[in-house]
C-alpha cells in the first residue's frame, strides 16, 4: 500500500479509529497494529508476507538464544544463522539475477559457451529495509548493546511497524521496541504535528517529485540521443530533486504517521543539499542507512583504528557496498565508488589543505558539494554505463552538437524548483522544521498547510510508487 493512495487514507482512518477507541487494551492495540502492518504489506503481494514472518521468527529465536547463551561459539552460530537468513533473502531476491548475469559474462569471457535463463525473481517491497533492521537487532544482541525484546509481539511489531516497513527509516531496536512497552497515545499537539508532517511528505512526493520533476528526469534519462549540455544538467538536477523529495517525502510521511500514533521515529534527512562536504552529507542524507553502514560495516572493517590506508579501504568498501545496497547493478557500485572517492579526497584535503569554513565561503562550499553529488546521481539514475557516460560528456561539453530536447519553460521550472530547494536547505541547515513552525504565526502556517493540501489534491497523484521501494 502506498501512502499516496486512497486506500491508505481509508486504512489509516480505520487504524487510528481502533487505536484511539477504548475497546482495546494496549496489548490488543499492538496486536491490531501488527495485523494492520501485515495487511498494509499484503495488499501489495500477500504471499511475500511469509518472508516477513520467517525473518521475524528467525531473529526472535536468535535474539532469545543470544540473550541466554554464554557459550561464545554458540552465540556466534546464532548470529550467523540470522545473518545467513536475512542476507540469503537479500541475495536471492535482490541479487539473484545480477549474480547469474555476471556469472554468465565471466564464463563466456573465458571461452565457455553458457547461457542461463533469467530467473525473473520478484523483488519483495522493502526487503533491504526490514532485513537490515532485524539484522541490527541480532548484531546488537550479540554485542550485548541492546536488551532482548520483552515479548514476541513487541519484536514482531518492531520488524513490521507499517509506517517505516517498506522504506525506512531503519530503526534500531533500542529506539523502537522500548516504545512499545508502555501504552502510547499522541497528545493533540503531536497528532496535529504528525498530520502536518504527513501533508509535507505527500506534498514533496506528489507535487514536487512526481508533478514538477519526474517527467523531465524521465525524458532526459530515457532519451537515446546525444544531449546538449544544458539538457543533461537540467535532467540531472531534476533527478537530484526528485529523489530527495521522493525519499525524504516518504520518511516525513512515516515519521508523521508514527507520531499520530504517539511513536517517535528518528529523522532520516536533515537538509542534505546544504552539506559542507561529504562527511557532512552522510550525516544528513538517509541518516538511518549511513549510521547502519557505519556501525555494522565501516567500524567492523577497522574504521579509523588501524591507520590511514586501512581507513580508506574500509571507507571505500563501505560506500561500494552501500551503492550495491541500492540496487543490483554496476552503475550503483560506481555511484558508491564516487562517494567513497569524495570522502577519501575530503579527508586528504582536511589533512593537507585545511581551511576554515565561514559564513562567506560556506554557501559556496555547499554548492560545490551539491554539484559533485549531482554527478554521482547520473550513475544512480542511468540504466546503462553508455547512457551515464553520454550524460557526463554532455554535462562537461565534451560533445558540442548535442540535441536540445527540453523546452525553455521546463528549464525555468526545474531550475527554479532546485534553486529554491537548495536555498531552503541552506537556510534550514542549522535548525528544524519544528523550531521554524514555533516561530511562525498560526495563520501563516495554516495558509501554507492549505496551499500544500490544495496542490496535493489538484495534482491528482495516481499512486506513483516511491523510488526507494525498489531498493
Amino acid at each position: 500500500m502506498l501512502f499516496n493512495s486512497l486506500s491508505f487514507i481509508l486504512f489509516l482512518i480505520i487504524v487510528l479509529a481502533f487505536y484511539y477507541s477504548k475497546i482495546l487494551n494496549w496489548t490488543n492495540k499492538k496486536r491490531m497494529l501488527l495485523l494492520s502492518s501485515y495487511v498494509f504489506y499484503g495488499m501489495w503481494n500477500p504471499p511475500l508476507v511469509i518472508l516477513l514472518w520467517v525473518s521475524t521468527i528467525i531473529d526472535w529465536t536468535a535474539g532469545k538464544q543470544l540473550a541466554i547463551e554464554d557459550n561464545q561459539k554458540k552465540r556466534k552460530m546464532w548470529l550467523m544463522l540470522s545473518m545467513l537468513v536475512n542476507l540469503g533473502f537479500l541475495g536471492f531476491f535482490k541479487y539473484g539475477d545480477f549474480l547469474l548475469e555476471n556469472f554468465v559474462t565471466i564464463v563466456n569471457s573465458i571461452g565457455i559457451d553458457f547461457e542461463a535463463k533469467p530467473m525473473d525473481i520478484i523483488l519483495p517491497m522493502g526487503i533491504s529495509f526490514y532485513t537490515f533492521q532485524t539484522m541490527s537487532y541480532t548484531i546488537d544482541m550479540y554485542k550485548r548493546k541492546t536488551e532482548r525484546a520483552r515479548t514476541f509481539l513487541d519484536f514482531a511489531l518492531y520488524v513490521t511497524f507499517f509506517p517505516q516497513l517498506v522504506a525506512g527509516p531503519i530503526v534500531r531496536a533500542k529506539n523502537l521496541i522500548t516504545q512499545f512497552y508502555e501504552e502510547k497515545k499522541a497528545t493533540s499537539e503531536q497528532f496535529i504535528w504528525g498530520l502536518f508532517l504527513l501533508t509535507i511528505g505527500l506534498f514533496q512526493k506528489i507535487v514536487l517529485a512526481d508533478t514538477l520533476l519526474s517527467e523531465t528526469t524521465d525524458n532526459v534519462f530515457g532519451s537515446d540521443k546525444l544531449l546538449h549540455g544544458i539538457d543533461a544538467w537540467v535532467g540531472t538536477i531534476a533527478f537530484s530533486g526528485q529523489i530527495f523529495f521522493d525519499f525524504a517525502g516518504y520518511s516525513t510521511c512515516a515519521i508523521g504517521i508514527a507520531l499520530m500514533l504517539g511513536i517517535v521515529l528518528p529523522d532520516n534527512f536533515r537538509y542534505p543539499y546544504a552539506s559542507l562536504g561529504f562527511s557532512d552529507l552522510w550525516k544528513r542524507w538517509h541518516i538511518s542507512l549511513s549510521s547502519w553502514l557505519k556501525d555494522y560495516l565501516y567500524i567492523p572493517l577497522g574504521g579509523n583504528r588501524h591507520g590511514i590506508t586501512r581507513m580508506y579501504v574500509a571507507l571505500m568498501l563501505t560506500m561500494l557496498l552501500g551503492g550495491l545496497w541500492h540496487g543490483a547493478a554496476w552503475t550503483f557500485m560506481i555511484w558508491g565508488g564516487l562517494h567513497g572517492t569524495y570522502l577519501i579526497l575530503e579527508r586528504l584535503q582536511k589533512r593537507h589543505l585545511p581551511f576554515k569554513i565561514t559564513k562567506w565561503n560556506g554557501i559556496f562550499l555547499a554548492f560545490i558539494t551539491f554539484s559533485c553529488v549531482n554527478i554521482t546521481w547520473v550513475f544512480f539514475r542511468a540504466r546503462t554505463f553508455e547512457k551515464a557516460w553520454s550524460m557526463i560528456k554532455s554535462m562537461f561539453y565534451m560533445q558540442t552538437d548535442g540535441e536540445k530536447i527540453l523546452d525553455t519553460f521546463t528549464i525555468i521550472k526545474v531550475t527554479t524548483v532546485i534553486a529554491i530547494m537548495f536555498l531552503c536547505h541552506w537556510l534550514m541547515r542549522n535548525t528544524s522544521m519544528k523550531a521554524v513552525s514555533l516561530k511562525t504565526p498560526s495563520w501563516v502556517l495554516g495558509v501554507i498547510w492549505a496551499i500544500m493540501t490544495f496542490l496535493i489534491i489538484i495534482a491528482q497523484g495516481s499512486g506513483e510508487q516511491f523510488i526507494y521501494f525498489q531498493f
Binding site: 508533478t211 536540445k404 523546452d407 525553455t408 492549505a450 489538484i458
Partner: protein, 345 residues
C-alpha cells in the same frame, strides 16, 4: 493550541479552494466523468472469467467502443456484453489473452478497424503496447490498486476536476503546467493538434459521443484535424501477414474450445474512409481475412441500413446513430444465427 488553530485555518482554506476550483472548471464546460484507465478496463476483463457460453465480449478499437451501445444490446438480446475495446488499439493482444488465459467460450465480437487490426505485432508499437499494458495490469494488479480504483469511483462521479485526461482537456496539475510554453528551444515539441475528449464513459465502459460533437462543428473539426495529422504522419506500413497469422492461430484455438467469433467492420466516412481504402483496401485485407477465418463477418458497406449514418468526425457514430446501428446490427446477427443465445421476442 497554536497548531490546532493552524489546522482549522488549513481545513477551512483547503475546502474553500477546492470548491472554487471545482466551480471554475464546471463554468468552463467540464463535467464529471469516469476515466477509461487500466483499472476500469481490468474490472471488466475480470468479469470475462465468470461468463457463460451465452455471453458476448466486445473487443477492438474505438469504433466498436462508440458504435455498439450496451443498453440497446441488452434490450434486444437480454444479455449485456462486456466492453473491452480501447481507442487506438489492436484487438489482437486482448483476443490472445482471453483465448489463452480464460475459460470463456462464448461469443467474441471483434471490431476490425483495418489500420489498427493489421498494424503490427511488435510489442513496443503503440497499437499493441496500449492494450497489452491493460492486459498486464489485469493480471498483475494488487489488492491495493483494486481498492484504490473502487474508492476513486465516488470521487470521479462527484468532481469534474478529477480527470486523467491528458493534453488540451487535462486538468491535473502537471497537465495544466505543461500547457505553458515559452519560446521554441526544442524541436521535440509535439506537433499534434489539440485533441479534445469527445466521449462520455460509463462505469461499465459504455461510451457515447458527446452531444457537443453534433452541435459544434468547430469542436468536431478539431478531432478531424487530429485524424488528418495522423494521415500525414509517416507511420510504418500495415503488417498484414503477421497480424493475420497471429489472429488466425488464436482463432483456431478459441474455436477448438467451442467459442464463437464475429468480425465487424464499423462505419467510417469521408477522408478517413478514403485513407483506409488506400492503405488497407477491402479486397486485399478484409476479404482475405474473411476467407481465411471462416467465421461470420459483417462489413458496414454491405448493408443499406448503414449507408447514411452520421459520423461527426468521420470515424465514430453520433450517439443516437450508435443506438440505431446496434439495433440494426442485432437484427442482422439474429437473422444470421450469429449469436449463440438470442432473445426470441
Amino acid at each position: 493550541m497554536k497548531l490546532k488553530k493552524s489546522l482549522i485555518y488549513a481545513i477551512g482554506l483547503s475546502l474553500i479552494a477546492i470548491i472554487a476550483w471545482e466551480i471554475y472548471w464546471r463554468s468552463e464546460g467540464f463535467t464529471t466523468s469516469i476515466d477509461d484507465n487500466d483499472a476500469l478496463w481490468a474490472v471488466e476483463r475480470a468479469k470475462v472469467d465468470e461468463l457463460s457460453k451465452d455471453d458476448v465480449v466486445l473487443i477492438g478499437s474505438s469504433r466498436v467502443h462508440f458504435d455498439i451501445q450496451l443498453d440497446k444490446w441488452e434490450e434486444k438480446t437480454g444479455k449485456r456484453p462486456i466492453q473491452l475495446a480501447s481507442g487506438g488499439s489492436s484487438p489482437l493482444p486482448v483476443f490472445h489473452d482471453i483465448v489463452n488465459t480464460s475459460n470463456f467460450n462464448g461469443t467474441i465480437l471483434v471490431g476490425v478497424t483495418p489500420p489498427l487490426f493489421f498494424s503490427t505485432t511488435f510489442p513496443e508499437a503503440q497499437p499493441w503496447a496500449w492494450p497489452l499494458a491493460r492486459v498486464n495490469h489485469f493480471h498483475n494488479r494488487t489488492y491495493a490498486q483494486r481498492l484504490n480504483h473502487q474508492l476513486s469511483i465516488p470521487l470521479q462521479k462527484s468532481f469534474a476536476f478529477l480527470s486523467e485526461n491528458k493534453g488540451v482537456d487535462g486538468l491535473k496539475l502537471n497537465e495544466l503546467i505543461n500547457k505553458i510554453k515559452i519560446g521554441k528551444r526544442s524541436k521535440n515539441t509535439n506537433p499534434m493538434p489539440p485533441f479534445h475528449d469527445f466521449s462520455v464513459m460509463a462505469l461499465d465502459r459504455n461510451v457515447r459521443m458527446k452531444k457537443r460533437m453534433e452541435t459544434d462543428t468547430a469542436y468536431a473539426n478539431t478531432v478531424k484535424r487530429v485524424w488528418q495529422f495522423f494521415f500525414e504522419s509517416d507511420g510504418p506500413p500495415p503488417d498484414k501477414k503477421s497480424t493475420m497469422a497471429f489472429f488466425l492461430k488464436d482463432l483456431e484455438k478459441f474455436k477448438a474450445k467451442g467459442g464463437n467469433v464475429i468480425l465487424l467492420r464499423c462505419p467510417s466516412s469521408d477522408e478517413f474512409r478514403e485513407i483506409e481504402k488506400k492503405i488497407t483496401p477491402r479486397d486485399t485485407v478484409w476479404d482475405e481475412l474473411v476467407a481465411k477465418s471462416g467465421i461470420k463477418t459483417y462489413h458496414f458497406e454491405d448493408y443499406h441500413q448503414f449507408q447514411n449514418l452520421t459520423l461527426p468526425e468521420w470515424s465514430h457514430l453520433k450517439a443516437d446513430h450508435a443506438d440505431y446501428f446496434t439495433e440494426e446490427l442485432i437484427k442482422i446477427l439474429k437473422e444470421d444465427n450469429a449469436l449463440l443465445n438470442q432473445k426470441t421476442n
